[in-house]
């Protein structure tokens, strides 16, 4: 068991490319958002944005989107084709979720075996996969609201597509924050995502 690779190379490579793409997309997206905030109370300080101005941020956003989408398709495709998705992220039952949540609240949810995800991890990883799909679709609806009428309607119109895009971004950032905290608590998981075991 000691020498078996828990995270195959393609998982690690796509994970880190995705991490880079997400950081660049979120930071440039915040700069774009600041040009016309949906919620006037919510604005992002220039120090944590990318691009310098609206035009610069859009150049970044519409460049890195290709990296994000291409990498995500490879990640999802290999996950499905290799059976990893089914093996590691499924099944997810309400019961196991309730049990693991309870254990986590009591501080008894262990991370001894990093090759297996607990129910909360499964939920988190599945949620963030769906969230990125929603981010891309709502982003497409904002970018091309005339060319993709079905997507526009599904998102509730152009203005609402921006709100969906914002909410999905918030979910992604929340995941990112918890994810980083968990890595800090279980440092071996960082090593695992770098060298695979």
């Amino acid at each position: 068991m000691s020498q078996t690779t828990i995270q195959p190379a393609w998982v690690r490579v796509t994970h880190w490319i995705n991490a880079l793409a997400v950081v660049l997309m979120v930071m440039s997206g915040w700069q774009v958002y600041d040009a016309s905030p949906i919620f006037p109370a919510v604005q992002f300080p220039p120090a944590i944005t990318l691009g310098g101005w609206l035009g610069g941020a859009l150049l970044w956003h519409f460049a890195v989107m290709w990296l994000l989408v291409a990498n995500f398709l490879v990640y999802l495709g290999l996950n499905i084709a290799s059976g990893r998705l089914r093996r590691k992220l499924l099944p997810l039952s309400v019961r196991s979720l309730a049990a693991d949540t309870l254990a986590a609240l009591r501080g008894r949810l262990g991370h001894e075996d990093l090759s297996r995800y607990n129910a909360i991890q499964k939920l988190a990883y599945l949620t963030v996969i769906v969230d990125i799909v929603m981010l891309v679709l709502s982003g497409l609806a904002v970018w091309k609201s005339v060319q993709f009428p079905l997507l526009r309607t599904l998102m509730g119109g152009y203005d609402n597509a921006r709100v969906v895009h914002f909410v999905c971004m918030s979910v992604l950032v929340a995941f990112f924050a918890v994810h980083v905290v968990m890595v800090a608590l279980v440092p071996r998981s960082l090593l695992l995502m770098i060298r695979g075991r």
Partner: protein, 263 residues
């Protein structure tokens, strides 16, 4: 590389993780080549932080971003369906007041004299080259209530009326196989569009706003209205139209806004 036995016991704790990480780090650092690399990574990172070097100001990064933006122009040209119409809305949904927006303040809106005004058509066109406002009003007119989407993200619904731009171009004898139409304005703004969008059924050379003569703040005497493109591609106070095969760029586009700017 160190290959160790991972503790199979369920009671393995955080401290054992810490131990193994340290052990790994020590082994890695024993290799002088790796140690040098480690130092370099640290100092490169430190240098980047100290010098305040940021990605936004790097010239090669900017060149790459511009290239991808031109690639995105091609993608958008492919996505553009000349038969797909932008949604239209009932009168009750018009945004009132419709926002004024320009690269200058509302007090600096240019005043164009209707009597002496002439619209110039240049470049690859062999028809009438000078048009008066009366001549433009005499052409068949139509109306649209569509959504104006700003690159900043906000949108507003307005009602514009005027001449279908494709009809106008044909009357002016424009070569509609040319690639671009460039538009110059009385406020020194300029932009340019692709021919397929110029010929789109909803692309209007507008002379009215909400049933009234187009007021100065919305672009008197005329605004090119394209509900298939973002706001900065919809120029106001147009004085000259040029049909060309040479990429003309634009005021905002040359500063970094995407050229196609489709929606």
């Amino acid at each position: 590389m160190a290959i160790r036995k991972r503790s199979g016991e369920p009671g393995a704790t955080l401290s054992s993780h810490a131990d193994s990480i340290l052990k790994d780090a020590h082994k890695e650092l024993k290799d002088p080549a790796r140690r040098l690399l480690g130092k370099r990574i640290l100092s490169l990172g430190g240098l980047a932080l100290l010098s305040g070097c940021d990605l936004s100001n790097d010239k090669s990064v900017n060149t790459m971003l511009r290239r991808i933006s031109f690639f995105n122009d091609d993608v958008q040209a492919l996505l553009f369906d000349p038969n797909k119409m932008a949604p239209t809305y009932p009168e009750s949904m018009i945004t009132r007041p419709f926002p004024f927006n320009a690269f200058y303040d509302i007090d600096d809106v240019p005043e164009v004299d209707a009597a002496t005004y002439r619209l110039q058509v240049g470049g690859l066109a062999h028809g009438k080259r000078m048009w008066t406002l009366d001549e433009l009003h005499a052409l068949p007119q139509q109306d649209q209530i569509t959504r104006h989407i700003c690159i900043e993200g906000w949108s507003a619904i307005g009602r514009w009326g005027g001449v279908r731009f494709g009809d106008f171009l044909k009357r002016a004898g424009a070569d509609t196989t040319a690639r671009f139409v460039s538009l110059h304005c009385a406020d020194n703004y300029w932009t340019s569009i692709d021919m397929p969008t110029a010929l789109h059924a909803q692309t209007l050379l507008t002379l009215t706003y909400d049933g009234q003569v187009l007021p100065p703040k919305y672009g008197f005497p005329m605004k090119l209205r394209m509900p298939t493109k973002l706001g900065y591609k919809n120029p106001k106070h147009i004085v000259a139209i040029t049909v060309t095969n040479d990429y003309p760029g634009g005021y905002w586009e040359n500063q970094g806004y995407n050229w196609f700017g489709g929606s």
